[in-house]
Amino acid sequence: MSGPGIRRRGWSLVATTSAALCVGFAFRRVFGTGEVMLTAALSAIVPTIVVLACSGGPKRFVTDAEKARATRPLWPSLVLSALAWILVVSASLFRDRAVGHVLPTPSGMRDIAAAVVDAPKSILTTVLPAPTDGELLVLVSACVWVAALAGAELALRTGTVSLPALPALLALIVPVVLGVGGPGSNLPVVVAMIGAIGLLLLIRAPERLPPLGTALVGVPIVIALACVAALLGPNLPGTRTRRPPDLRDLVALPRPERLTGISPLDRISAWLMSPDQPMFSVDGPSAPDRYWRLTVLDRYDGSSWYPVRNLRATAGRVPESPDGRPPVLSTVVNTVTLRDLGDIWLPGTDRPTEVDAPGLRLRVDPDSGVIASGSGLRSGTRYRIDTRVPALDPDRLQFLPAAQDPANTALPESDATGRPIPALESLRAKATVATSGSTFPYQQALRLAQWLRANHRYDISAVPGHSYRNLQFFLETTKEGTSEQFATAFAVMARTLNLPSRVVVGFSAGREGANGVREVRSGDIVAWPEVEFEGVGWVPFFPTPGQATDSGARKQAPEQKTPATSAPAKPVTRAEKDREIAGQTRSGPAPDTATRSAAHRDGTRWWPFVAAGAGTGVVGYLAAAGIGPVLARRRRRRGDPREQVIGAWRQINDDLLGAGLRTSGSLTVGEIAEYGATRLPPEAGARLPGLASLVNDIAYGDRGIEQADADAAWRDRAIVAGAVRRIDGRPRPHVRAYRRMRPRSVALVFRSPDKGRE
C-alpha cells in the first residue's frame, strides 16, 4: 500500500478536523468569534465521526484483495452525513421551528435550504459583523461540514499527503470573501490554517524519521513557518494600503422599507417655524458645541439635494469611513430617546462606531456613517450610540489637497431642454470672487464660508428651497436665508470650484435640563456643508451666521462651535485658527510638508520584514545543512539489511567527498570504489572493492543479504571515515564547508534513500 500507513491516515483526521475548524474560525470577521465557534465545532466534529463510522475506520490490510473487500462504498457516508447535518442544524440553529426542538419539519427543512441559498447575499448586504441569526449561521455550518466531510474522506480513502487539506482551503474562500471589511484580521486564521496543514503533512509525510523524531523536527518547523507568516503577512508591501476586492460593491442593496419621500432639508423651514416640538433627548456627556447629524445629502439635480441611499443592514456596528481616518479626539457614549422625530433617520454623531438599538432594524451608510431604521421611528425608542470624535487640525488641513471624488463635484450643467443653466454660471462667478486669492482648498472653503456669513443674513422666515434659482435669488436678491440656503449655497459653489462637497442636516446640541439630559427641539435644526480632503475625509464648514434661537437670544455662529473647541490642550480653537488661515495672503502654494509627513507616517516600512524573512531563511538553511548529514546518517542505518548496506555505501560516498571525490554523479559504484582504493590507505581502500561488489549485487542482482553483511558494511564505513579524516591532502576546511553548504548537498541529504543521487 502506497502513501501513509493506516494509523497515520486515522490520525490525519485530527488535522482535517482542525483545518475545518479554521474555516469556521474564519467566519469570525463575519459574525464575531464567540458566535461562530460552537457552530463550527459541531460542524467539524460530527461529520468526522460519521465518516469514521461509515467509511470504515482505519483497517490494516494484508493483500490488495482484502483491501478491495474491506473498502466500503462512499454513498452511505454521504447520505448519513447529509441527514446528520440537517438534524444538527435543526436542533441548534432552527430549534424554534423543530419538533421537540430537535426534529426538523418539512417546512423547517425548506427554511434551512432557503437559508443556505440566501445567506451569502444577506451577509453581503449587511455591515459586518452580521447578526447571529440561524438563517445566516447555517452558512457557517454548511461550509465547515463540507470541509470536514471531504477532508476526512480524502484522508481515509487516499494515500496522498496534502490532498485532504484541499477541501478546507477551498471552503476557506467563502468566509474570507464574505468577511472583507469586517472587524479584525484574517491573520490568526491563516496562522491556524498553516498550523493545521503543517500537522497534516507531518502526520502523512513519508516516514523518514521515527514519530518522535518527526515531531521534534517537524513541530518547530511548522511553528516557525506560522510565526514567519504571522510576522510577514500583515507587513507585505501593499497589504496595508491596498483595499481587497469586496463583493459588496457588486451587490444591489434592498431599498429601505419606509421612506417618507420628504428630504429633511425641506423640513428645516417648517421646524424652525414651530421650534418647540421635542425631537429627542440625549443622556450622557454632550458638549454644547456638538452637532447631531440626521442625514447626509450628496446628490444634487439642480432643484433638490437627496439623502444617501447606500444603506446596509447592520447589527449595530458602523464601519470606519473609507475616505479617510482623522485622528481621534475623544470617545463618547450617549443614550438617545426619540420623541417626535419620525421618519427613518436616527440622530447620530460624527463618527458613530456602534449603535445599540434593541427592537430596531438598523441600516447604516458606510460612507457617511448615517444611521437609519428599516421600519420607521416611534416615540419613546431608546438607543445607545458610541462616537469617536475626530480631531480636525487646521494646521494640517490648510495644506491638504481636495479629494479626487468626481461624484461629489458633479453639478447639472444644463436644464431638461439641454440649454445651459445661467444660474450656475452666476454661482460659479460668485464663488470665484469669494475665494479669490486662496491658494489651497481649505483656504478656499474657509473664504467661501466667510463670504457667505459676511454678505448674507440669517432669517427663519426666508423663502425655503435650494434649487439653482432659489440659491441665485438668495445670493443676489434677498440675501437672507436659513441654514438650508447657506449650506446648500456653499455646497453648490464649492462644487463649481471643483471641491467635493455635500450637505448635512442635523441638530445643534439642544438645551441641557436639570437632570443633565439635553433636550433637542425642532428649532435646533441646522444644515451645514462638508468638503472632502485627501487623507482626512469630510470636514464640516459653517457658513450660516448667528441665528435666532427659540428663546430669542442670539447664538454664536456655528463655526465657532466645532468639536475641536473641546480639546483642552489646544490653546487656539479651530475657529480662531480658521480665521487666521482665511485671512492669510500667500504668493503661491506652500511646500506640502504636512502631506509629506503624513505620507511618511502611513508608509509601509517593509524592509525590516524582508530582512527578517531573509534572516530566517538563512538560519533555516544553515540549520538544515548542519543537521542534514546527521539525519541522513541516522536514516541510512535503518531499514532491512539491504537498505543498511546501501546506506553505508552512500555514507562512504559522502565521506569520500571529503577526500576529493567529484560529485558529478556520473561515477559508477566501481569507479567510486576504485577512486577510494587509490586515494585511501590500504587498510581502508582495500575494503571498498568488496563492498562495491556487494552493493552492486544488491542493487542490480539478486544476492541475499544477512544482517552480518550490513554490520560489516558499516564497520567498513567507519574505517573509511577514519581514513578520510587522517589522509593528507584532504580539502581545506573552507572547501569542505563550501561543499556541505551547497544547495545540492543539502538537498541530497534530505532526499529519500530510494531516489538515489543523481
Partner: protein
C-alpha cells in the same frame, strides 16, 4: 567433465560443455578466458582488444578492427577463427571485387538441367573481411543483409549462413586513397569498432624475440566448437539479467549522443540495444548473472563511437567522436544503488 581447458596437443576441443543451472556462467567465464588466453598467444599484449572481440563474438555482433598496417588486425581476426572449431573464410576486399564474389552465384548445371547455388565466402562461421573499405560501395552493401539478418537472397532464394556468424572486418584509416569509406548504415551494423594499436615496448620485444614458444596461428589449439559458442550465446542472452536502472542508463547514453551539440547524427536505438547485449556478455564473462553500470560504461566507447557523425564545426575544431563520448560519459548521471530492484 565440465571444465574447459586448453588442450595440450592437437587442435580439437577438450569436451563439449554440459550445462547445468549452476555452472553455466562459470563455464562461460572459463571458455571466455580460455579463448582470450589462446588468442593472446599470437596477439601479444592486447588483452583488452581480444576481450572486446570475444564480446562481439558472444553477443552475435560484428567487429570492425581499425588501425594502421602492421598492428595485428588480421592476426586478431584469424586467431579468433583459429580458436574456434568452425568454418572460416577470408575475403580480401579490392576495388574490383563484385557482390557475387562474396555472396555466391547460381550456375546452370547441364547434367541435372537445374541451377545450382555456389555459396560465396560469406557462408562461414567466421568471415574475415580484410581492408573492407577498399571494396566498392556496391560490394560493401552486399554485406548489409547478411550482417544484419544472417541470410542472403540470391535469385529470389534465401540462404541462411551458419550460426554463430561473425564478420571481422579490418580497415586502414591512414592510407585512404582509393578507398570507399563505409557508409553510416553499414557502420551501424558493426557491434563495435576497436583499435588494436601498437604493442607496448615489452610486448613488441617479446614478439620480435619469438618469446612464448613462437606460437603461430596455424599452431593455435581449438578451444571451442561452433556449437559451444552458440550455446554460450544463449547463456549470455538468457541467464544474465538487466536491472531497469542500468538499461535506462544505456538508453540515456545513446540518447545523449543524439542530443549533443557536436554531433550531426547520434547512436540510434540499435546502439542502446547493442550496449545492453554486449553488457550481458561482459557480465557473463565475469560470472555475473546481472549487468552493472560499469559494464555499460566500459563498452560505451567501442560500441557507440563509430555510430556518431560529427557536425562540421566540431570536425573543423578538431573534436573527435571519442572526445564527444568522453564528455557524455562524464555528464550523464550513472544510476546509483538503491535497495529497490527492477529487472528488465
Amino acid at each position: 567433465m565440465t571444465q574447459l581447458a586448453t588442450p595440450a596437443n592437437g587442435n580439437q576441443p577438450a569436451e563439449a560443455p554440459q550445462f547445468h543451472a549452476g555452472d553455466a556462467l562459470r563455464l562461460f567465464r572459463e571458455c571466455f578466458r580460455a579463448l582470450g588466453d589462446n588468442i593472446e598467444r599470437v596477439v601479444v599484449g592486447k588483452r583488452d582488444v581480444v576481450d572486446l572481440a570475444l564480446i562481439a563474438l558472444f553477443a552475435e555482433g560484428h567487429l570492425l578492427v581499425e588501425d594502421v598496417p602492421g598492428t595485428g588486425k588480421t592476426t586478431l581476426a584469424r586467431a579468433i577463427s583459429a580458436s574456434i572449431d568452425a568454418s572460416w573464410h577470408r575475403i580480401q576486399f579490392t576495388p574490383d571485387l563484385l557482390p557475387s564474389d562474396i555472396t555466391g552465384v547460381s550456375m546452370f548445371r547441364q547434367t541435372t538441367n537445374t541451377f545450382e547455388f555456389l555459396p560465396g565466402p560469406v557462408f562461414a562461421h567466421v568471415v574475415i573481411g580484410d581492408e573492407i573499405n577498399r571494396a566498392s560501395p556496391k560490394t560493401q552493401s552486399a554485406m548489409l543483409e547478411v550482417m544484419e539478418e544472417g541470410r542472403i537472397t540470391v535469385d529470389g532464394t534465401t540462404h541462411e549462413v551458419p550460426r554463430p556468424f561473425i564478420v571481422i572486418a579490418t580497415q586502414n584509416p591512414v592510407d585512404m586513397s582509393g578507398t570507399y569509406p563505409l557508409p553510416e548504415a553499414q557502420l551501424d551494423r558493426f557491434l563495435m569498432r576497436v583499435t588494436v594499436g601498437y604493442p607496448d615496448l615489452a610486448s613488441e620485444i617479446a614478439v620480435a624475440s619469438g618469446a612464448g614458444g613462437g606460437a603461430t596461428i596455424e599452431g593455435l589449439p581449438v578451444i571451442a566448437t561452433a556449437r559451444h559458442i552458440q550455446e554460450f550465446v544463449q547463456v549470455a542472452r538468457h541467464r544474465v539479467g538487466a536491472a531497469q536502472p542500468v538499461v535506462d542508463y544505456a538508453v540515456r547514453l545513446a540518447r545523449a549522443t543524439r542530443e549533443n551539440a557536436h554531433t550531426r547524427l547520434g547512436a540510434g536505438p540499435r546502439g542502446s540495444v547493442a550496449l545492453v547485449r554486449a553488457a550481458r556478455v561482459r557480465a557473463a564473462a565475469q560470472e555475473r548473472n546481472h549487468i552493472l553500470p560499469e559494464d555499460v560504461k566500459a563498452l560505451a566507447r567501442p560500441i557507440l563511437t563509430h555510430r556518431l557523425l560529427l557536425a562540421p564545426d566540431a570536425e573543423l575544431g578538431g573534436v573527435t567522436a571519442a572526445d564527444v563520448l568522453d564528455e557524455i560519459l562524464d555528464r550523464v548521471p550513472a544510476p546509483q544503488p538503491t535497495a529497490a530492484k527492477g529487472h528488465a
